[in-house]
Structure formats: C-alpha cells, structure tokens
Amino acid sequence: MSILGAIATFLLAFVVGMTYGGIRRKVIARVQNRYGPPIYQNFIDAFKLFSKTTAVHHGAMHLLGPAFLMVSAVVALMIIPVLRDNIWFTNLNFKGDLIFLIYIMTFGPLGMALGAGQTGNPNSAIGVTRGLSQMVGFEIPWVMALVALMIKYNTTSVVDLMNVQNEVGQWLIFQNPFAFVAAILASLGMFRYAPFNIVGAPTELASGPASENGGKFLFTMMSAGSVFAFVKLTLLVDVFFGGASNLIELVIKTFLLYMIPVMYGVVNPRYRTEQAVTYFWGWPLLFGFLAIIYSVYF
C-alpha cells in the first residue's frame, strides 16, 4: 500500500462524495420546481465549517467522536476495490473481506454516538437510539443478499466477487436479481435519506447526534458521511455491476446507482422508527430469502 495511492483514493472519495451531495440538492430542488444551490455547494459548506472557530468542548470523548468516524470511513475505503487492476487505487484490497467491511462500517457511527453522548444533550441520545434501531432493521436483508452471493461463488472477498463476474461473463445483478433488490432496498436505510431520515431530523429532533457539534466537528461528520456514501456505492457497483476499470465508468455507474435512493427519497415523507424497522422486515426480508433459496437451489 503506498501512501500516495491512499491519499489519491481518499481525495477521490471526498470529491466524488461531496459532488454527489450537491447533485442531490440540485435534483431535490428541481423536483420542487425551483433552482437550487450550485453543484459545488457542499464544498463551500465544508470550507465554511472548517473555518469556523470552536469555542467549547464537552470532554475527551466528544473530541474523539468525529475522529472515530473518520478512521472507520478511511479504513473501509482502503479495503474496497475502487478500480479493477489499477496500481494507484489498490491499497489494502487483498486484506479485507465482506464481514470485516460490515463491522468496520458500524464502528464509526458507534464512536460518533459515544462522542455525541458525552455532550449531554438528550436529543443526541434519542437520535442515536433511533439510528441504531434502524440499523438492526436494514442489516438483515443486506446480510442476506451478501450471504447469498458468498455461498454461490465460494468467496468472502470483494475482489473475488468482482473478478468472478469477468469469468462468468455476466453481471451478478442478472445472475441473482433477488439479491440486488434486497441489497438496494437495504441501502435505502444505509444512506439515511427520506423516508429513513428520522435520525437527524432537523426540527423534530434538533438534528440528533449533530446537535452539539458545530464548526470543525460538523466538517468531519460531513466529510466522513460523503466518504461513506462513496464506499457504499462502490461496494454495490463492485458486487453487482462488475466493478469499473476506469474512473469514467466508475463515476457513471455509481451516479446511476445513487439516483435510486435520491429519487425514492425526494418524493417520500418520513417513517417513524418502528415503521422503518418493520418495513425492512417485510418485502426486503422476503427478497433476501428468495435470494438465498435461489443461490442454493439453482
């Protein structure tokens, strides 16, 4: 793993993630029949947040919370294969597998939750409990989809799943469409756009875990959030769409995949927490079962 490659990957994830956030705001604005902010608005927001001074902190855990989040985002980024066979972006690809990735992706939000907990604001604690409950909801169909693929192709590594699509000659979305449906429905919960955005609801909950974090803390949370979004999109592209061999293909594929949560969210109101949890245990769970049965018996 070379340092330059790691930095390049991180910059790629940061830039692409923030741009996608800006495009999302533009799409939402257009759907609502207005012009919206320019596409690079997220960068301006991030820069402004970075330049705010921080006056108070609530203790050591509060200062370390965003650091946990960033660490988890970066490690997850190092492990997923961004491009196929490219020396710049290989990083730690051979050292990770899906189970490790799933657990690393939960480490960050847990650290952030502890940091938000030390501030003492009850709103942050309520937001965290809602986020954790939703996570139990969407993890089940997500894991079922991945297990179905792991059984069929006898591997737990993302690189192998990406390469197996070359050998088979067909993308995995066509090999096991049920797994794709279950995974994409679960990823609606992972992105936390509407209708699953009760975690950080601005006026209902004073924005949940972010309520005491301004300035540089919020900058870290925003950047880690966009890196995470990039990680999830790239994971879905690698597993279901055969990966990407150059940057243009990666951007096109992730962008088209990203439009699914955005479009679904832009027209939907918000679910309550128990509605969100029981939603994930309805149709997505059924598709997960079908995916496993399909990969075992066909």
Partner: protein, 616 residues
C-alpha cells in the same frame, strides 16, 4: 503426593481455614484468601503437564485425575480469572458482613471447577459438579433477598440437570461396567441406537443447564444479577464454561462418531441460535445493568454453543475462541458494574448517569470490553465472530448465519445502552461526590481489557492450545495451514491480516486526533453538560434532562410480538398444573385417620361382596 491432589487439598482446606480466620482479623482473612487462590494457580502452571495422572482408591471406587489438552485450555480461563477476580473480590467485599461465608464458597467454587476439569472418571466429575452447584447456590442467596424465587429456581434447575446426568452415568456403568470417560468413548460405537441417542441427550441436559441453553436458561437472569458482582465475574466467566466443556466432550467424542448424532447436533444448534436472538432482545429491554449483562451472557453463550455443535473444525475453533474471549470481556464488564455499584450504591441505568469524568479508568475498561463484545475489529471478539461466520457459511447453515447476524447487530443496542447509561449523558448533582474505585478493583479490569486487545492482534496465543485440544480428539492439525502470525485464512484462501490494519488504523487515528484535539485544545474551553443548546435557557439545578427511560421504546414496540411468549411463564404454569394435580390427590390422601378407616372398610366390603367372583 501428586500435584493435582495437592492443589485440590490446598483449595478445600484453604477454604475452611479462610472461613474461620475471620475471627483473627479482616486483613489476615483477605491475605489468606489471596494466597489460597494464587498459590494453586502458580503450582498448576508450573507443575502440571499432560503426563500427570493420579488415582485415589477408596474401598470399592477409584477416582482418576489427570489433564487433557482440552482441560488445559479451560483451566487457563478458570485459573486466570480466579486470580484476577480474587483481587477484585478483596476490594469489593471491603467492609461487608459474613465475609468468611463468602470466601468459603468462592474458593470452593474455584476448587470444584478445577476438580471438574481434572477428573477423568464420572464419579469425581459428578462429585465436583455438585459441590460447584451448591457453592454457587449459597452465594446466589448471599444477599438474603428473594431466596424463594431466585435461589430455589436455580437449585431446582440445577437439580434437574444433575439428575439427568446421574441417570446417564448409571446407564453408562450398566453398559460398560466402568466409570472412566475414556471407556465410554471407546464403547460408544458399540452400543444400541437407543442408548447412543439417550446417553448424550441426558448428558446435554445436565450441561445445558449450566450453559444456559433455552429452555433451561430461566435461572440465569435472576441468579447472575442477584449474586454479588465479584462472584458473577467468575459465575458467568468460568462456571458457565464448565457446561461448554462437557458439551465439547459429548459432541466431539460421542456424537460425531455416529450418523444419527447429526440430528441432536442440529437441534442443539438451532436452540442455541434462538437463545442468542431472543435473549439479546430481552437484554435491550432491561433497565438494570446487572440483568442486561446477564441476558447478554446468555446470548454470547448461544454463539459458543452454535460453534461447538456444528462440528466442523473451524466452527469448533470459533466456539472455543469465543469461550475464552467471553470469559475475558464479560468478567471485565461485571467488574465494571460492581465498581459502579460500590461507588454509587445502585446499578439502575435510569438513575446513574454521567460518570465518565469521575471514573475514567472504569470507563476505559468498559469501553474496550464493549468493543470486544460487539465484535468490532481489531479486538478479540471480531476474530471469534469471523471464524464463526465463515464456518457457518461453509457448512451450509444459512438460516443460522442470519440469526447470529441479527443477534450480533442487536447487541450494538444494549452495548450503547450500558455505556451511555452509566458514563455519558447529563451529569446530575446527586452523583457529584462519586470517586474512582479503589486501585485493587481497577487493576484486574484493566488487565482484562489489555488482554482482549492483545488477543485480537495475536490470536495465535490461544489458537495453539485450541489446536492441541482438537488434535487430541482426532481432528486434523489446523494450526500450520490456516493460521500464520496474525493473518487468518479461511478455506477459500481469503485472508484478513490484523496487525498491519491495526497499525494503519492507529496511524489515521493519530493524525485526525492531532488535527482536532491538540490544535484546538488551547482555544476551546471545557464546559459541563449543563451548557448545551436548550433553546436559549439555562438548565437549572432541579431540572433533569437525562434521557434514560424508554431508551429503545420504538424498537421494542417493533419486536413486541416476539417477546410476548416467555419460557419462564410456561414453566411456572406447568409447575402450577402439577401442584394442582397434587392438590387433587391430597383430597384422597388427606392424612385423616378416620378417612383411612373408611377406605379400609370399603375395601373389605368390596372383597366380601365380590371376592368369590374375583378370586374363584
């Protein structure tokens, strides 16, 4: 005099001497207690090896003791926890009454566990099993509260298990003619099919009670939370592993040899998976930290039993590894709760908050143990869970993978609940006086936390004894092929490397920490939790902004249909039904002499009237 017998005599005599030395002074009692725990541990680790075997002969019976590789592995847990928890106990019991009674039963439990691990024949196994049961029963009722409900329930469940085991032992003796465990293993394949299924089933009932398998687990939540926390550290850390030890012997040497054994193994695996899932949901519901950890223990034991029951080499390694890690982090967590209880007087999560700045070492130990429990890399819990998932996927148990994943994700909820409830959140003025626990209680906690970090980076430290134990059962040598340094391979050749990742993590962590933490430290001011954005108001002293009631209420509402049925209620209604039956019988046998006289007269009349037809 053989060293095993010496250690056993040290334990039992030392227990009695410690109990009575309280009359001299409390300090002497504490020192004697520590000596009785430390000296046998030292003797064990230096003096005992695979070749020591000793036989005691009474007039008709022979008791055989010796060490096998599997029992060496489990005695690492028992002896290690005994020493660390012993130091913790001395600190926690400082100033409490009836210390002699407590120390006596504590040492007896440890000695009995050691005896179980060292026994090679069923009679000594059963003797020490019973000593362990009643020593732990006596400590469960140490507080004197709810003796009927909690103590009797524990004792009855243990008795059910013990009598099942006794039945199995008698059956074994009638078939094979001896009590030795090795004789049972060699004669097992020759038995009839009924016996081949019955004996392991009875033994599993006995072991399942201690290992808290559904539906035999109903004693565990009350018993774990009612005993003092320094005992629960070894109760849940080491004593439950005795059940696992027995189960490993049954599964590996008996049930894997016959094709019908697969049925029992699958049933046990499914029961364990359901245990894990449902007890995790119950743990989320609890408001008392002790009961939360008790239900969490039952869930983790479920993972271990799945690993052991499935039977492939990797799953057994996963189960045994998780058993060790569970002993390490769960006893650290119970010690944390005990320290909080000693300093604040209560363990109710809805009352205690905001202790992070007052008890920082306790928080650190709790944080590391919770991270290990949740299975987050690079700590030890992740290694065990990774191996468990791999083995379940490899052996085609897909539904079990889903249940284990569900339970593992739901575990994040109660992990956050216990950390937030005790240490984070608003700081209330009723806890402003709380200070850090005494050093003798902190050091064992910190040592256990460090070992869960070390075992995450270097799992080969205990993978080697596990491998030796498995080879003694005839399984292939996996150490050389599958584990190299701190890289784990699975059967498909995928690997995860833990050490380089951990250093990478630390590097990123340090960079970002320097960026946020130190650069701003001089410019930012520490404020208490009273200074939060509460719509422009100042929080007055009497206002309580702690969020701790109904902590996961939406989630619990969503899973309520599953939690409506409780095995506790079924067993109680069954017991009530039997009691009603006995009440009915009491009307016939009502102890009144005149009623018995009437029965005798009626019987004579019937004989006189119909006797000729009946007899003739």
């Amino acid at each position: 005099m053989n060293i095993i017998i010496l250690i056993l005599i040290l334990f039992f005599l030392g227990a009695i001497i410690t109990a009575f030395s309280g009359k001299i002074s409390a300090l002497v009692q504490d020192i004697l207690f520590l000596i009785v725990l430390v000296v046998p541990a030292v003797l064990f680790f230096t003096g005992v090896d695979m070749n020591t075997e000793s036989i005691i002969t009474f007039s008709q019976a022979q008791l055989t003791f010796g060490m096998t590789p599997l029992s060496y592995y489990f005695s690492l847990i028992v002896m290690g926890l005994a020493v660390l928890a012993g130091f913790y106990t001395v600190g926690q019991m400082n100033g409490k009454k009836r210390k002699g009674y407590y120390y006596l039963n504590y040492i007896l439990s440890i000695g009995a566990m050691f005896g179980i691990l060292m026994s090679k024949d069923f009679i000594s196994f059963f003797i020490f099993w019973e000593i362990m049961t009643w020593a732990s029963y006596l400590i469960v009722i140490y507080n004197g509260k709810n003796v009927q409900k909690i103590g009797i329930k524990y004792f009855v469940m243990s008795a059910i298990g013990a009598y099942a085991m006794l039945m199995a032992i008698v059956l074994i003796h009638s078939i094979t003619g001896s009590f030795l465990i090795t004789d049972l293993i060699s004669e097992y394949t020759g038995m009839t099919q009924g016996m081949q299924l019955l004996i392991p089933a009875l033994l599993l009932i006995g072991f399942g009670v201690k290992a808290a398998l559904m539906p035999l687990h109903i004693w565990a939540p009350d018993a774990y939370s009612n005993a003092p926390m320094s005992y629960t550290a070894i109760f849940s850390g080491a004593l439950s592993k005795m059940g696992i030890y027995g189960m490993v012997i049954v599964f590996l040497s008996l049930l894997s040899k016959v094709p019908e054994g697969a049925l029992i193994r699958d049933i046990v695996a499914w029961l364990a998976a359901i245990t894990a899932a449902i007890s995790t949901l119950w743990a989320i519901k609890q408001d008392d930290a002790k009961r939360l950890l008790a239900y969490s223990s039952i869930g983790q034991l479920g993972y271990i039993i799945i690993g052991v029951a499935i039977g492939t080499p990797m799953s057994i390694i996963a189960g045994l590894f998780l058993a060790f890690m569970h002993g390490v982090f769960k006893s650290a967590l119970f010690m944390v709760v005990g320290a909080v209880e000693k300093q604040t007087g209560t363990t109710d999560l809805t009352e205690v908050t905001g202790l992070i700045r007052k008890m920082p070492w306790t928080f650190l130990a709790a944080l590391i143990s919770i991270i290990a429990l949740a299975g987050i890399p690079p700590l030890g819990g992740f290694v065990g869970k990774w191996m468990l998932y791999e083995s379940l996927i490899l052996s085609d148990h897909f539904m079990l993978v889903i249940l284990v994943f569900f339970s593992s994700t739901a575990a994040f909820l109660y992990c956050y609940k216990i950390l937030f409830g005790f240490f984070l959140g608003q700081e209330e003025k009723e806890w402003a006086h709380v200070k850090e626990a005494p050093a003798i209680m902190i050091v064992p906690m910190v040592i256990l936390s460090i070992s869960s970090i070390v075992l995450g980076t270097y799992p080969q430290l205990i993978l080697k004894p596990i491998n030796a134990a498995m080879m003694s059962f005839g399984l292939p040598d996996t150490y050389g092929n599958l584990w190299k340094e701190s890289i784990l391979f699975n059967k498909w050749g995928n690997q995860i490397a833990l050490a380089p990742i951990m250093y990478g993590i630390m590097l990123v962590f340090v960079i970002v920490t320097i960026f946020l933490f130190f650069r701003n430290r001089s410019r930012t001011r520490y404020v208490t939790t009273k200074d939060i954005s509460t719509s422009g108001e100042i929080i007055k002293e009497h206002e309580n902004l702690t969020f701790s009631r109904g902590f996961f209420q939406p989630f619990l509402r969503a899973v309520e249909p599953v939690m409506k049925r409780q095995i506790d209620k079924y067993m109680l209604s069954f017991a009530k039904g039997v009691e009603d039956l006995f009440e009915f019988t009491r009307r016939i046998y009502n102890g009144n002499g005149q009623t018995y006289a009437i029965y005798a007269m009626i019987f004579l009349i019937i004989l006189l009237m119909f006797g000729k037809n009946l007899l003739g």
